[in-house]
């Protein structure tokens, strides 16, 4: 097992800001959207760009979604990186948290700005984009995209565990209920189980209501070394566990109903954080549920309930008892690439006691999860404590 940063070496998240997530922020370019949140974290911390202040930026974005090659070049000024460092993580924002933390644990930087953006509304079709993630020889010709991949995952998972469509509808109903308490959430209109079940079918068994909506938004965070965190906030949130893992590419080579990569990512993060009993280790759990069935499936992978027991977990009120996705989760609306980053953001807000009417009282330790790729091929797990 690798060694972590020497005496007292920990990384804190000292500030977080999110735009409101919306279907189409037509009035602002992605640079403007990102500046809104960067300005907020500068104000929260009193930091400026440059030596002694923010020394480096890690950004999160995707060239295809941005329709620009090297799209981070368009935001160098926004993240204060003129004649400074900026490195772009082109994957889910939880991966950005992972890498930004490493740049501090290495002792290369003390204070890092992490900034992610995406305007899904810019593309005519998200499926057209995710279709391009499939290889041109075997999987693109059969028309796969991330929705189709998730549908195959959902079918396999539901067949194995007995999770029903009605239970998935209840996941959506609950997401909307909590989203109403989250000022940045997008989908806040109440739905009934019947309404969720009547939504148009996208790829069986995934209905429109079971899938995260088209979403625009940006998130910024300030990460700092233990030595510098106290200057920036009196409520630092510590990153105590990190793990990630890839699964294989071809869906047919994977156990689609299982959690190969998530189990490994969680194991690493839990070992690092000293978590031995995940079922009751966290007051706050944020799962990147891009699709409703992924909430119980990934809860299994995160060992929040026994493997194959997702249906029982839902029936027994597991999500409510374990405070899963009080933000509303991804079903309430985040761009795909910011799903895990928004989960980390909510965990930080909860651990700082700033979550208002959705606050989990006395939250001490939080679990945040992110996923990248078709049917969650790359999984990221972050443990945070106050």
């Amino acid at each position: 097992m690798a060694k972590h940063r020497g005496a007292g070496g920990r990384v804190a998240i000292c500030a977080v800001a999110q735009t409101k997530f919306e279907r189409d922020k037509w009035q602002v370019r992605f640079q403007g959207m990102l500046w809104e949140v960067v300005e907020k974290v500068l104000r929260q911390t009193g930091l400026q760009f440059g030596a002694g202040g923010i020394e480096a930026a890690v950004t999160v974005s995707d060239d295809v979604f941005d329709a620009r090659t090297i799209s981070d070049g368009a935001i160098t000024d926004v993240v204060g990186a003129h004649h400074q460092s900026e490195e772009k993580v082109a994957a889910d924002g939880a991966q950005g948290v992972y890498y930004a933390a490493a740049t501090i644990l290495s002792n290369h930087h003390d204070i890092v700005l992490l900034a992610g953006h995406c305007k899904e509304s810019q593309s005519a079709s998200r499926n057209q984009i995710t279709h391009l993630a499939f290889d041109p020889f075997y999987t693109r010709p059969v028309g796969l995209d991330y929705v189709a991949a998730a549908a195959l995952q959902a079918q396999a998972y539901m067949a194995r565990t007995g999770v029903t469509e009605a239970q998935l509808a209840d996941v959506v109903v609950r997401s909307r209920k909590w989203a109403r308490e989250n000022p940045v959430a997008q989908e806040t209109a109440a739905v009934t189980r019947e309404q969720a079940l009547a939504a148009p079918m996208l790829a069986a068994p995934i209905r429109q209501s079971f899938m995260y909506p088209v979403s625009d938004g940006a998130i910024a965070m300030i990460l700092a070394s233990e030595e510098r965190a106290a200057e920036l906030t009196d409520r630092p949130v510590w990153i105590t566990g990190l793990g990630n893992c890839y699964d294989s590419f071809f869906l047919g080579e994977r156990d689609l109903a299982g959690n190969f990569s998530l189990e490994r990512a969680a194991k690493k993060a839990y070992e690092m954080a000293g978590v031995t009993h995940p079922t009751d280790a966290f007051e706050v759990v944020e799962i990147a549920d891009q699709y409703a069935h992924q909430q119980p499936q990934y809860a299994e992978g995160l060992a929040l309930c026994p493997a194959r027991q997702g249906a029982k977990w839902l029936a027994d009120g597991g999500p409510e008892k374990q405070h899963v996705n009080r933000s509303g989760g991804m079903l309430a609306g985040n761009p795909l690439i910011l799903g895990g980053m928004a989960r980390v953001a909510e965990a930080v807000i909860q651990l700082r006691g700033e979550a208002g009417s959705r606050q989990v009282p006395g939250a001490k330790r939080a679990l945040a999860h992110g996923a990248t790729g078709p049917a969650g091929q790359l999984q990221t797990v972050v443990v945070l404590e106050n």
Binding site: R5, A67, R68, A102, L105, L242, C245, F249, L378
Partner: protein
């Protein structure tokens, strides 16, 4: 200089053969070539690797999140990893990231992979898409610009500047002739310098086809390990002492003062006790996308105030046998699989350090 949490070394590297058309392999297969060679070089198997980094530009091959499909060639199945992309700098960003990830203590052995298969897309189209769609795209000519030529001609006069550019191009080709992996090995002959300079097609301004880098397919893989692992494996290390990244804000291109190259070099030298780079550095692998940029950027990286860098080209100081060997690999003018290119510089430099250690203490940039 801040002390690293722990020391990091390069213990192996591999490259595919670079070429304009690697039609006999698909993308993961091309990556696999580099990965296998790197593992063999380090005497490791994938079981020893505990993190895989991936980088390239999505819009060059039009594959979204390509690290997913490429798992078939990268060996990242069941392993942690991160995908980073910053343009032509991607490969160097991967090296910085691998340094950070090993130094952080999160990982002991990191495999960094840079990749591009430009024949499957349209590189100039992809690069043109960098520019702001409202303010700059209609002016963009991809990577083909005549600005460096214009600058050198204004600084040093037309004849001297043109001669320096073509001389550098020929030296780079002489170096590429010694590198079997290089894409373009043209066997340019100094006897025909004048003809080469005037008879190849012009592209933009004084930038001619012969000055410009190639458009290549290729992959590069470099293995980074912690100090403990180096000792445990008995590896032959090239230590990664420090790194620095400097960007430029895109819309202030005409008013940004010092070049990013010069700012980066100044910081790196200041932190590492380099006061006389030309004499303290034994070999330099530089990202030189054209012969014009090569001459100009050499001056910036070496903090030249006058025409020292032009003289270094004129008097063959930058040749392998010279006092300051520049790009013994042939450099980017010979091979440019963009996402891999900057990592190739790191790999080549590490190979030089390891190979030359027996003779002399060697510092490489």
């Amino acid at each position: 200089m801040k002390k690293k949490n722990r020391n990091v070394a390069i213990i192996g590297s591999g490259m595919s053969k670079f070429s304009s058309h690697r039609e006999e392999v698909n993308q993961p297969e091309l990556i696999h070539e580099a990965v296998v060679e790197a593992l063999e070089d380090a005497h490791l198997t994938m079981d020893d690797v505990d993190c895989v980094l991936h980088g390239n530009m999505e819009l060059f091959e039009m594959v979204h999140q390509p690290d997913m499909w490429h798992v078939l060639g990268t060996g990242a199945w069941g392993k942690p990893g991160v995908r980073l992309t910053t343009g032509g700098t991607t490969g160097a960003t991967l090296a910085c990231a691998a340094d950070n990830l090993v130094a952080s203590g999160l990982h002991d052995v990191v495999l960094a992979i840079g990749f591009e298969k430009l024949e499957e897309g349209h590189a100039t189209g992809g690069i043109t898409n960098m520019a702001d769609p409202l303010w700059g795209r209609s002016l963009q000519t991809g990577a083909l610009t005549g600005t460096a030529a214009q600058k050198l001609i204004e600084q040093f006069g037309e004849e001297r500047a043109k001669n320096a550019a073509i001389k550098m191009r020929i030296i780079m080709d002489e170096h590429a002739m010694r590198n079997e992996k290089a894409h373009r090995r043209l066997r340019l002959d100094r006897k025909y310098m004048k003809q080469i300079a005037t008879q190849t097609p012009p592209l933009v301004g004084e930038l001619r086809m012969i000055h410009m880098c190639s458009q290549s397919d290729g992959a590069c893989a470099v293995i980074f390990a912690s100090e403990d692992k180096v000792a445990q494996l008995g590896a032959n290390p090239a230590w990664v002492v420090d790194h620095e990244t400097v960007h430029r804000e895109e819309t202030l291109i005409f008013n940004s003062g010092k070049s990013t190259h010069r700012v980066a070099a100044e910081r790196l030298y200041a932190r590492n006790g380099i006061t006389d780079p030309i004499h303290q550095i034994d070999v330099f692998e530089m990202y030189d996308p054209s012969a014009w940029w090569g001459v100009d950027w050499l001056g910036d990286f070496l903090l030249c105030e006058s025409d020292e860098h032009v003289k270094m080209v004129e008097n063959d100081q930058i040749a392998i046998e010279g006092e300051f060997p520049l790009n013994p690999s042939g450099g980017v003018q010979a091979s440019n699989p963009i996402g891999a290119t900057a990592l190739v510089r790191v790999a080549e430099a590490a190979m030089q350090v390891v190979a030359r250690r027996a003779n002399t203490r060697c510092r490489v940039m």
